[in-house]
Symmetry: C2
Subunit: 262 residues, 2 copies
Amino acid sequence: MEPTGEIISIGNELLIGHTLDTNSHWLAIQLNRRGWVLQRVTQLRDSLDSIASGVREAVLRKPLVLITLGGLGPTYDDMTLAGIARALHKPLRLNTEALRLVEEHYRRLETRPKLTKYRTKMATLPRGATPLPNPVGTAPGVRMKQSSTTIFSLPGVPSEMKAIFRTSIAPFLTTFGVNRPREFQFKIAGIIESALAPILDEARRAYPGLYFKSHPRGRETGPRPLILLHIYSTRPGSVEEVARAAGHVIQRISGSIRKERL
Amino acid sequence: MEPTGEIISIGNELLIGHTLDTNSHWLAIQLNRRGWVLQRVTQLRDSLDSIASGVREAVLRKPLVLITLGGLGPTYDDMTLAGIARALHKPLRLNTEALRLVEEHYRRLETRPKLTKYRTKMATLPRGATPLPNPVGTAPGVRMKQSSTTIFSLPGVPSEMKAIFRTSIAPFLTTFGVNRPREFQFKIAGIIESALAPILDEARRAYPGLYFKSHPRGRETGPRPLILLHIYSTRPGSVEEVARAAGHVIQRISGSIRKERL
Protein backbone atom coordinates (compact mmCIF):
# COMPACT_ATOMS: atom_id res chain seq x y z
CA MET A 1 0.00 0.00 0.00
CA GLU A 2 1.27 3.44 -0.96
CA PRO A 3 1.20 6.19 1.68
CA THR A 4 -1.72 8.59 1.15
CA GLY A 5 -2.04 12.35 1.46
CA GLU A 6 -4.53 15.20 1.28
CA ILE A 7 -4.10 18.93 0.72
CA ILE A 8 -6.34 21.73 1.99
CA SER A 9 -5.63 25.04 0.30
CA ILE A 10 -7.13 28.03 2.07
CA GLY A 11 -7.94 31.52 0.79
CA ASN A 12 -10.80 33.54 -0.70
CA GLU A 13 -8.42 34.57 -3.48
CA LEU A 14 -8.57 31.00 -4.83
CA LEU A 15 -12.36 30.79 -4.82
CA ILE A 16 -12.99 34.16 -6.44
CA GLY A 17 -10.60 33.20 -9.26
CA HIS A 18 -8.10 35.87 -8.27
CA THR A 19 -5.26 33.36 -7.78
CA LEU A 20 -4.64 30.05 -9.55
CA ASP A 21 -3.73 27.38 -7.00
CA THR A 22 -0.25 26.54 -8.26
CA ASN A 23 0.78 25.67 -4.66
CA SER A 24 -1.34 22.52 -4.58
CA HIS A 25 -0.14 21.57 -8.04
CA TRP A 26 3.49 21.93 -7.01
CA LEU A 27 2.88 19.84 -3.88
CA ALA A 28 1.01 17.21 -5.94
CA ILE A 29 4.15 16.81 -8.07
CA GLN A 30 6.33 16.51 -4.97
CA LEU A 31 4.11 13.85 -3.39
CA ASN A 32 3.80 11.86 -6.62
CA ARG A 33 7.53 11.96 -7.22
CA ARG A 34 8.08 10.33 -3.83
CA GLY A 35 5.51 7.61 -4.47
CA TRP A 36 2.76 9.12 -2.31
CA VAL A 37 -0.86 8.94 -3.44
CA LEU A 38 -2.59 12.31 -3.15
CA GLN A 39 -6.25 11.41 -2.60
CA ARG A 40 -7.92 14.79 -2.50
CA VAL A 41 -7.30 18.52 -2.75
CA THR A 42 -9.83 20.89 -1.16
CA GLN A 43 -9.88 24.64 -1.62
CA LEU A 44 -11.67 26.53 1.16
CA ARG A 45 -12.61 30.12 2.00
CA ASP A 46 -11.15 32.13 4.87
CA SER A 47 -13.94 31.09 7.20
CA LEU A 48 -13.49 29.44 10.57
CA ASP A 49 -16.50 27.14 10.07
CA SER A 50 -15.36 26.14 6.62
CA ILE A 51 -11.77 25.38 7.68
CA ALA A 52 -12.86 23.49 10.80
CA SER A 53 -15.25 21.25 8.81
CA GLY A 54 -12.76 20.71 6.00
CA VAL A 55 -10.02 19.64 8.42
CA ARG A 56 -12.40 17.46 10.48
CA GLU A 57 -13.60 15.63 7.35
CA ALA A 58 -10.05 15.14 6.05
CA VAL A 59 -8.79 13.70 9.34
CA LEU A 60 -11.71 11.24 9.41
CA ARG A 61 -10.52 9.86 6.04
CA LYS A 62 -7.21 9.02 7.79
CA PRO A 63 -4.60 10.12 5.25
CA LEU A 64 -1.04 9.54 6.46
CA VAL A 65 -0.31 13.19 5.81
CA LEU A 66 -2.55 16.26 5.58
CA ILE A 67 -0.96 19.48 4.33
CA THR A 68 -2.78 22.80 4.76
CA LEU A 69 -1.72 25.83 2.73
CA GLY A 70 -2.28 29.49 3.55
CA GLY A 71 -3.81 31.46 6.40
CA LEU A 72 -0.85 31.56 8.83
CA GLY A 73 -0.12 35.30 8.64
CA PRO A 74 -0.81 38.20 11.03
CA THR A 75 -4.11 39.50 9.61
CA TYR A 76 -7.63 38.72 10.85
CA ASP A 77 -8.41 36.59 7.80
CA ASP A 78 -5.50 34.23 8.58
CA MET A 79 -7.47 31.65 10.55
CA THR A 80 -6.04 28.27 9.59
CA LEU A 81 -4.64 27.41 13.02
CA ALA A 82 -7.85 28.51 14.77
CA GLY A 83 -9.78 26.29 12.35
CA ILE A 84 -7.52 23.29 12.98
CA ALA A 85 -7.70 23.84 16.74
CA ARG A 86 -11.48 23.81 16.55
CA ALA A 87 -11.51 20.70 14.34
CA LEU A 88 -9.21 18.79 16.71
CA HIS A 89 -10.79 20.13 19.93
CA LYS A 90 -7.46 21.58 21.07
CA PRO A 91 -6.95 24.99 22.67
CA LEU A 92 -4.70 27.60 21.04
CA ARG A 93 -1.61 28.38 23.12
CA LEU A 94 1.28 30.79 22.72
CA ASN A 95 4.20 28.53 21.75
CA THR A 96 7.56 29.60 23.20
CA GLU A 97 9.65 28.14 20.40
CA ALA A 98 7.39 29.68 17.73
CA LEU A 99 7.58 33.05 19.49
CA ARG A 100 11.38 32.81 19.44
CA LEU A 101 11.28 32.19 15.66
CA VAL A 102 8.92 35.13 15.08
CA GLU A 103 10.99 37.46 17.27
CA GLU A 104 14.20 36.36 15.55
CA HIS A 105 12.62 37.25 12.20
CA TYR A 106 11.64 40.76 13.27
CA ARG A 107 15.06 41.34 14.82
CA ARG A 108 16.36 41.44 11.26
CA LEU A 109 14.04 44.40 10.63
CA GLU A 110 14.01 46.24 13.95
CA THR A 111 16.55 46.48 16.77
CA ARG A 112 13.90 46.01 19.48
CA PRO A 113 10.95 44.33 17.80
CA LYS A 114 7.57 44.93 19.44
CA LEU A 115 5.64 41.72 19.85
CA THR A 116 2.19 43.11 18.99
CA LYS A 117 -0.88 40.87 19.08
CA TYR A 118 -0.62 40.58 15.30
CA ARG A 119 2.88 39.16 15.64
CA THR A 120 2.24 36.85 18.59
CA LYS A 121 -0.77 35.51 16.66
CA MET A 122 1.72 33.76 14.35
CA ALA A 123 3.20 31.98 17.38
CA THR A 124 -0.18 30.89 18.77
CA LEU A 125 -0.58 27.21 17.88
CA PRO A 126 -2.95 24.37 18.72
CA ARG A 127 -1.72 22.64 21.90
CA GLY A 128 0.87 19.95 21.16
CA ALA A 129 1.93 21.47 17.83
CA THR A 130 5.56 22.02 16.82
CA PRO A 131 6.68 25.11 14.88
CA LEU A 132 8.74 24.62 11.71
CA PRO A 133 11.33 27.31 10.90
CA ASN A 134 10.47 29.53 7.92
CA PRO A 135 13.81 30.29 6.21
CA VAL A 136 12.40 33.00 3.92
CA GLY A 137 9.43 34.59 5.74
CA THR A 138 7.77 35.37 9.07
CA ALA A 139 5.08 32.85 9.95
CA PRO A 140 6.54 29.49 11.05
CA GLY A 141 5.07 26.33 9.56
CA VAL A 142 3.34 23.98 12.01
CA ARG A 143 3.44 20.23 12.54
CA MET A 144 0.81 18.30 14.50
CA LYS A 145 -0.32 14.73 14.89
CA GLN A 146 -3.92 13.51 15.07
CA SER A 147 -4.21 9.71 15.47
CA SER A 148 -2.46 8.26 12.39
CA THR A 149 -2.40 11.56 10.45
CA THR A 150 0.53 13.96 10.53
CA ILE A 151 -0.71 17.49 9.77
CA PHE A 152 1.62 20.10 8.29
CA SER A 153 0.50 23.72 7.94
CA LEU A 154 2.42 25.91 5.52
CA PRO A 155 2.08 29.58 4.56
CA GLY A 156 0.46 30.40 1.22
CA VAL A 157 3.33 32.55 -0.10
CA PRO A 158 4.86 30.14 -2.66
CA SER A 159 8.53 30.80 -1.77
CA GLU A 160 7.82 30.22 1.96
CA MET A 161 5.67 27.14 1.26
CA LYS A 162 8.43 25.59 -0.85
CA ALA A 163 11.22 26.43 1.59
CA ILE A 164 9.43 24.87 4.59
CA PHE A 165 8.40 21.89 2.45
CA ARG A 166 12.03 21.24 1.52
CA THR A 167 13.44 21.57 5.02
CA SER A 168 10.67 19.98 7.10
CA ILE A 169 8.28 17.88 4.97
CA ALA A 170 10.40 16.28 2.24
CA PRO A 171 12.55 14.41 4.81
CA PHE A 172 9.37 13.12 6.48
CA LEU A 173 7.97 11.90 3.15
CA THR A 174 11.15 10.09 2.14
CA THR A 175 11.33 8.15 5.41
CA PHE A 176 8.53 6.06 3.92
CA GLY A 177 11.04 5.04 1.26
CA VAL A 178 8.75 4.65 -1.70
CA ASN A 179 10.29 4.66 -5.14
CA ARG A 180 9.59 7.20 -7.77
CA PRO A 181 6.68 6.14 -9.96
CA ARG A 182 7.43 4.97 -13.48
CA GLU A 183 5.56 6.50 -16.35
CA PHE A 184 5.38 6.77 -20.11
CA GLN A 185 3.47 9.29 -22.13
CA PHE A 186 2.53 9.13 -25.82
CA LYS A 187 0.77 11.28 -28.32
CA ILE A 188 -1.44 9.19 -30.57
CA ALA A 189 -2.64 10.77 -33.79
CA GLY A 190 -5.41 9.51 -36.07
CA ILE A 191 -7.53 7.58 -33.57
CA ILE A 192 -10.55 8.84 -31.61
CA GLU A 193 -11.11 8.07 -27.95
CA SER A 194 -14.09 5.75 -28.39
CA ALA A 195 -11.96 3.60 -30.73
CA LEU A 196 -9.05 3.56 -28.28
CA ALA A 197 -11.33 2.61 -25.35
CA PRO A 198 -11.52 -1.16 -26.10
CA ILE A 199 -7.72 -1.32 -26.56
CA LEU A 200 -7.24 0.31 -23.15
CA ASP A 201 -9.81 -2.01 -21.60
CA GLU A 202 -7.80 -4.98 -22.84
CA ALA A 203 -4.47 -3.47 -21.69
CA ARG A 204 -5.93 -2.74 -18.27
CA ARG A 205 -6.94 -6.38 -17.89
CA ALA A 206 -3.46 -7.52 -18.97
CA TYR A 207 -1.69 -5.07 -16.60
CA PRO A 208 -3.97 -4.62 -13.57
CA GLY A 209 -1.30 -2.76 -11.55
CA LEU A 210 -1.04 0.12 -14.03
CA TYR A 211 -3.10 3.19 -14.84
CA PHE A 212 -4.00 3.91 -18.47
CA LYS A 213 -5.38 7.39 -18.91
CA SER A 214 -6.34 8.98 -22.22
CA HIS A 215 -6.59 12.74 -22.61
CA PRO A 216 -8.22 13.96 -25.84
CA ARG A 217 -6.41 16.95 -27.35
CA GLY A 218 -8.19 18.99 -29.98
CA ARG A 219 -11.48 18.19 -31.69
CA GLU A 220 -12.45 14.67 -32.70
CA THR A 221 -14.13 16.00 -35.83
CA GLY A 222 -11.03 17.99 -36.82
CA PRO A 223 -8.61 16.85 -39.51
CA ARG A 224 -6.33 15.00 -37.08
CA PRO A 225 -7.72 13.69 -33.77
CA LEU A 226 -5.03 13.58 -31.12
CA ILE A 227 -4.93 11.73 -27.80
CA LEU A 228 -2.36 12.01 -25.06
CA LEU A 229 -1.98 8.61 -23.41
CA HIS A 230 -0.40 8.37 -19.99
CA ILE A 231 0.62 5.00 -18.53
CA TYR A 232 1.95 4.92 -15.02
CA SER A 233 2.51 2.92 -11.89
CA THR A 234 3.45 3.89 -8.38
CA ARG A 235 4.86 0.49 -7.49
CA PRO A 236 8.61 0.29 -7.04
CA GLY A 237 10.61 -1.46 -9.73
CA SER A 238 7.81 -1.67 -12.24
CA VAL A 239 9.54 0.28 -14.99
CA GLU A 240 9.80 -2.84 -17.17
CA GLU A 241 6.11 -3.57 -16.73
CA VAL A 242 5.20 -0.02 -17.79
CA ALA A 243 7.47 -0.34 -20.84
CA ARG A 244 5.88 -3.70 -21.76
CA ALA A 245 2.38 -2.23 -21.38
CA ALA A 246 3.35 0.70 -23.58
CA GLY A 247 4.60 -1.71 -26.26
CA HIS A 248 1.38 -3.69 -26.00
CA VAL A 249 -0.78 -0.61 -26.61
CA ILE A 250 1.42 0.63 -29.46
CA GLN A 251 1.13 -2.71 -31.25
CA ARG A 252 -2.64 -2.46 -31.16
CA ILE A 253 -2.95 1.00 -32.51
CA SER A 254 -2.81 1.80 -36.16
CA GLY A 255 -1.82 5.25 -37.31
CA SER A 256 1.19 7.38 -36.66
CA ILE A 257 2.54 7.56 -33.16
CA ARG A 258 4.91 10.03 -31.67
CA LYS A 259 6.50 8.66 -28.53
CA GLU A 260 7.88 10.83 -25.81
CA ARG A 261 9.64 9.67 -22.70
CA LEU A 262 8.68 11.92 -19.79
CA MET B 1 -27.70 36.45 0.45
CA GLU B 2 -25.54 35.67 -2.56
CA PRO B 3 -26.16 32.40 -4.41
CA THR B 4 -23.54 29.76 -3.54
CA GLY B 5 -21.70 27.17 -5.61
CA GLU B 6 -19.26 24.29 -5.37
CA ILE B 7 -16.97 22.65 -7.92
CA ILE B 8 -15.77 19.04 -7.97
CA SER B 9 -12.93 18.50 -10.42
CA ILE B 10 -12.25 14.86 -11.21
CA GLY B 11 -9.15 13.14 -12.58
CA ASN B 12 -6.01 11.35 -11.43
CA GLU B 13 -4.03 13.68 -13.70
CA LEU B 14 -4.80 16.56 -11.27
CA LEU B 15 -3.72 14.67 -8.16
CA ILE B 16 -0.46 13.34 -9.57
CA GLY B 17 0.49 16.89 -10.63
CA HIS B 18 0.33 16.01 -14.31
CA THR B 19 -2.29 18.69 -15.05
CA LEU B 20 -2.85 22.06 -13.35
CA ASP B 21 -6.56 22.56 -12.67
CA THR B 22 -7.12 25.66 -14.80
CA ASN B 23 -10.73 24.52 -15.39
CA SER B 24 -11.79 25.22 -11.80
CA HIS B 25 -9.95 28.53 -11.85
CA TRP B 26 -11.73 29.60 -15.04
CA LEU B 27 -15.09 28.61 -13.56
CA ALA B 28 -14.27 30.44 -10.30
CA ILE B 29 -13.80 33.62 -12.32
CA GLN B 30 -17.09 33.05 -14.16
CA LEU B 31 -19.03 32.49 -10.92
CA ASN B 32 -17.46 35.48 -9.16
CA ARG B 33 -18.12 37.75 -12.13
CA ARG B 34 -21.81 36.94 -11.88
CA GLY B 35 -21.93 37.58 -8.13
CA TRP B 36 -21.96 33.92 -7.08
CA VAL B 37 -20.00 32.80 -4.01
CA LEU B 38 -17.90 29.72 -4.73
CA GLN B 39 -17.65 28.00 -1.34
CA ARG B 40 -15.41 25.04 -2.09
CA VAL B 41 -13.44 23.32 -4.84
CA THR B 42 -12.64 19.62 -4.44
CA GLN B 43 -10.27 17.65 -6.65
CA LEU B 44 -10.90 13.90 -6.64
CA ARG B 45 -9.35 10.79 -8.16
CA ASP B 46 -11.02 8.60 -10.81
CA SER B 47 -12.52 6.33 -8.17
CA LEU B 48 -16.18 5.48 -7.83
CA ASP B 49 -16.04 5.56 -4.02
CA SER B 50 -14.23 8.85 -3.98
CA ILE B 51 -16.60 10.55 -6.45
CA ALA B 52 -19.71 9.19 -4.72
CA SER B 53 -18.57 10.46 -1.28
CA GLY B 54 -17.43 13.81 -2.67
CA VAL B 55 -20.78 14.42 -4.38
CA ARG B 56 -22.80 13.20 -1.38
CA GLU B 57 -20.91 15.55 0.97
CA ALA B 58 -21.27 18.51 -1.41
CA VAL B 59 -25.02 18.01 -1.82
CA LEU B 60 -25.46 17.90 1.97
CA ARG B 61 -23.91 21.38 2.18
CA LYS B 62 -26.79 22.56 -0.07
CA PRO B 63 -25.04 24.85 -2.56
CA LEU B 64 -27.43 26.33 -5.13
CA VAL B 65 -25.22 24.96 -7.88
CA LEU B 66 -22.70 22.09 -7.97
CA ILE B 67 -20.53 21.78 -11.07
CA THR B 68 -18.52 18.60 -11.69
CA LEU B 69 -15.67 18.61 -14.20
CA GLY B 70 -14.20 15.65 -16.05
CA GLY B 71 -14.92 11.94 -16.30
CA LEU B 72 -17.71 11.96 -18.92
CA GLY B 73 -15.81 10.24 -21.76
CA PRO B 74 -15.94 6.72 -23.20
CA THR B 75 -13.09 5.06 -21.27
CA TYR B 76 -13.37 2.93 -18.13
CA ASP B 77 -11.83 5.63 -15.93
CA ASP B 78 -14.61 8.08 -16.86
CA MET B 79 -16.91 7.36 -13.94
CA THR B 80 -18.39 10.70 -12.89
CA LEU B 81 -22.00 9.85 -13.79
CA ALA B 82 -21.77 6.45 -12.10
CA GLY B 83 -20.41 8.22 -8.99
CA ILE B 84 -23.22 10.81 -9.00
CA ALA B 85 -25.84 8.08 -9.55
CA ARG B 86 -24.49 6.23 -6.53
CA ALA B 87 -24.39 9.41 -4.40
CA LEU B 88 -27.99 10.30 -5.25
CA HIS B 89 -29.31 6.70 -5.14
CA LYS B 90 -30.51 6.91 -8.73
CA PRO B 91 -30.11 4.19 -11.36
CA LEU B 92 -28.18 4.82 -14.57
CA ARG B 93 -30.39 4.72 -17.68
CA LEU B 94 -29.71 5.04 -21.38
CA ASN B 95 -31.08 8.51 -22.20
CA THR B 96 -32.74 8.76 -25.65
CA GLU B 97 -31.96 12.44 -26.15
CA ALA B 98 -28.31 11.95 -25.08
CA LEU B 99 -27.99 8.99 -27.43
CA ARG B 100 -29.28 11.14 -30.28
CA LEU B 101 -26.61 13.78 -29.48
CA VAL B 102 -23.84 11.16 -29.36
CA GLU B 103 -25.01 9.52 -32.60
CA GLU B 104 -25.25 12.91 -34.31
CA HIS B 105 -21.66 13.60 -33.32
CA TYR B 106 -20.32 10.35 -34.76
CA ARG B 107 -22.34 10.86 -37.95
CA ARG B 108 -19.91 13.65 -38.74
CA LEU B 109 -17.08 11.07 -38.65
CA GLU B 110 -18.71 7.92 -40.04
CA THR B 111 -21.61 7.42 -42.46
CA ARG B 112 -23.12 4.67 -40.32
CA PRO B 113 -21.78 5.15 -36.79
CA LYS B 114 -21.68 1.98 -34.67
CA LEU B 115 -23.09 2.63 -31.21
CA THR B 116 -20.58 0.52 -29.27
CA LYS B 117 -20.84 0.16 -25.49
CA TYR B 118 -18.10 2.80 -25.17
CA ARG B 119 -20.23 5.26 -27.10
CA THR B 120 -23.58 4.48 -25.46
CA LYS B 121 -21.82 4.89 -22.09
CA MET B 122 -21.70 8.64 -22.78
CA ALA B 123 -25.51 8.62 -23.14
CA THR B 124 -26.10 6.63 -19.94
CA LEU B 125 -27.22 9.14 -17.30
CA PRO B 126 -28.62 9.07 -13.77
CA ARG B 127 -32.43 8.80 -13.97
CA GLY B 128 -34.11 12.19 -14.31
CA ALA B 129 -31.02 13.90 -15.78
CA THR B 130 -31.10 16.10 -18.88
CA PRO B 131 -28.28 16.02 -21.45
CA LEU B 132 -26.70 19.35 -22.51
CA PRO B 133 -25.48 19.61 -26.12
CA ASN B 134 -21.68 19.67 -26.53
CA PRO B 135 -21.00 22.03 -29.45
CA VAL B 136 -17.31 21.06 -29.78
CA GLY B 137 -16.97 17.44 -28.59
CA THR B 138 -18.63 14.09 -28.06
CA ALA B 139 -19.81 13.62 -24.49
CA PRO B 140 -22.89 15.71 -23.68
CA GLY B 141 -22.94 17.70 -20.47
CA VAL B 142 -25.55 16.70 -17.90
CA ARG B 143 -27.98 18.65 -15.73
CA MET B 144 -29.71 17.20 -12.66
CA LYS B 145 -31.56 18.48 -9.63
CA GLN B 146 -31.20 17.20 -6.05
CA SER B 147 -33.43 19.05 -3.54
CA SER B 148 -32.31 22.71 -3.76
CA THR B 149 -29.07 21.97 -5.66
CA THR B 150 -28.80 22.05 -9.44
CA ILE B 151 -25.95 19.77 -10.54
CA PHE B 152 -24.14 20.37 -13.83
CA SER B 153 -21.59 17.84 -15.13
CA LEU B 154 -19.14 19.04 -17.75
CA PRO B 155 -16.34 17.27 -19.64
CA GLY B 156 -12.75 17.97 -18.55
CA VAL B 157 -11.49 19.02 -22.00
CA PRO B 158 -11.25 22.81 -21.51
CA SER B 159 -12.77 23.81 -24.88
CA GLU B 160 -15.78 21.51 -24.30
CA MET B 161 -16.17 22.61 -20.67
CA LYS B 162 -16.21 26.28 -21.71
CA ALA B 163 -18.58 25.76 -24.65
CA ILE B 164 -21.17 23.91 -22.53
CA PHE B 165 -20.75 26.44 -19.72
CA ARG B 166 -21.53 29.30 -22.11
CA THR B 167 -24.56 27.71 -23.74
CA SER B 168 -26.14 25.91 -20.76
CA ILE B 169 -24.81 27.21 -17.41
CA ALA B 170 -24.18 30.94 -17.86
CA PRO B 171 -27.89 31.61 -18.66
CA PHE B 172 -28.87 29.67 -15.51
CA LEU B 173 -26.44 31.69 -13.36
CA THR B 174 -27.59 35.05 -14.67
CA THR B 175 -31.26 34.31 -13.93
CA PHE B 176 -30.29 34.97 -10.32
CA GLY B 177 -29.60 38.54 -11.44
CA VAL B 178 -26.70 39.37 -9.15
CA ASN B 179 -24.46 42.26 -10.07
CA ARG B 180 -20.81 41.97 -10.81
CA PRO B 181 -18.72 42.36 -7.66
CA ARG B 182 -16.81 45.59 -7.20
CA GLU B 183 -13.15 45.45 -6.39
CA PHE B 184 -9.98 47.48 -6.08
CA GLN B 185 -6.45 46.22 -5.95
CA PHE B 186 -3.35 48.07 -4.78
CA LYS B 187 0.34 47.41 -4.49
CA ILE B 188 1.69 48.83 -1.28
CA ALA B 189 5.44 49.23 -1.00
CA GLY B 190 7.44 49.88 2.14
CA ILE B 191 5.13 48.38 4.77
CA ILE B 192 5.22 44.87 6.23
CA GLU B 193 2.11 42.79 6.81
CA SER B 194 2.20 42.87 10.62
CA ALA B 195 2.21 46.70 10.44
CA LEU B 196 -0.66 46.74 7.96
CA ALA B 197 -2.73 44.32 10.07
CA PRO B 198 -4.08 46.91 12.59
CA ILE B 199 -5.02 49.28 9.74
CA LEU B 200 -7.00 46.49 8.06
CA ASP B 201 -8.63 45.57 11.36
CA GLU B 202 -9.87 49.13 11.69
CA ALA B 203 -11.02 49.28 8.06
CA ARG B 204 -12.88 46.01 8.44
CA ARG B 205 -14.79 47.41 11.42
CA ALA B 206 -15.63 50.56 9.47
CA TYR B 207 -16.76 48.61 6.37
CA PRO B 208 -18.18 45.29 7.62
CA GLY B 209 -19.64 44.36 4.20
CA LEU B 210 -16.25 44.31 2.47
CA TYR B 211 -13.33 41.91 2.28
CA PHE B 212 -9.81 43.23 2.89
CA LYS B 213 -7.17 40.71 1.87
CA SER B 214 -3.43 41.29 1.97
CA HIS B 215 -1.06 39.15 -0.10
CA PRO B 216 2.65 39.55 0.73
CA ARG B 217 4.81 39.65 -2.39
CA GLY B 218 8.53 39.11 -2.00
CA ARG B 219 10.49 38.87 1.25
CA GLU B 220 9.76 41.07 4.26
CA THR B 221 13.46 41.31 5.03
CA GLY B 222 14.28 42.32 1.45
CA PRO B 223 15.07 45.90 0.47
CA ARG B 224 11.43 46.74 -0.41
CA PRO B 225 8.61 44.79 1.22
CA LEU B 226 5.59 44.66 -1.08
CA ILE B 227 1.97 43.80 -0.32
CA LEU B 228 -0.86 43.32 -2.77
CA LEU B 229 -4.07 44.53 -1.13
CA HIS B 230 -7.39 43.41 -2.53
CA ILE B 231 -10.64 45.06 -1.40
CA TYR B 232 -13.88 43.66 -2.72
CA SER B 233 -17.58 43.23 -2.22
CA THR B 234 -20.12 41.02 -3.91
CA ARG B 235 -23.08 43.22 -3.02
CA PRO B 236 -24.74 45.06 -5.87
CA GLY B 237 -24.19 48.79 -6.12
CA SER B 238 -21.42 48.97 -3.55
CA VAL B 239 -18.77 50.39 -5.87
CA GLU B 240 -18.80 53.70 -3.97
CA GLU B 241 -18.35 51.91 -0.65
CA VAL B 242 -15.35 49.99 -2.00
CA ALA B 243 -13.85 53.23 -3.33
CA ARG B 244 -14.37 54.93 0.06
CA ALA B 245 -12.78 52.00 1.89
CA ALA B 246 -9.82 52.12 -0.47
CA GLY B 247 -9.39 55.84 0.24
CA HIS B 248 -9.60 55.15 3.96
CA VAL B 249 -6.81 52.56 3.84
CA ILE B 250 -4.60 54.73 1.62
CA GLN B 251 -4.86 57.65 4.05
CA ARG B 252 -3.61 55.42 6.85
CA ILE B 253 -0.63 54.05 5.10
CA SER B 254 2.60 55.91 4.87
CA GLY B 255 5.03 55.12 2.12
CA SER B 256 4.69 55.01 -1.59
CA ILE B 257 1.58 53.49 -3.04
CA ARG B 258 0.97 52.39 -6.55
CA LYS B 259 -2.75 52.13 -7.24
CA GLU B 260 -4.17 49.90 -9.89
CA ARG B 261 -7.80 49.63 -10.87
CA LEU B 262 -8.57 46.02 -11.81
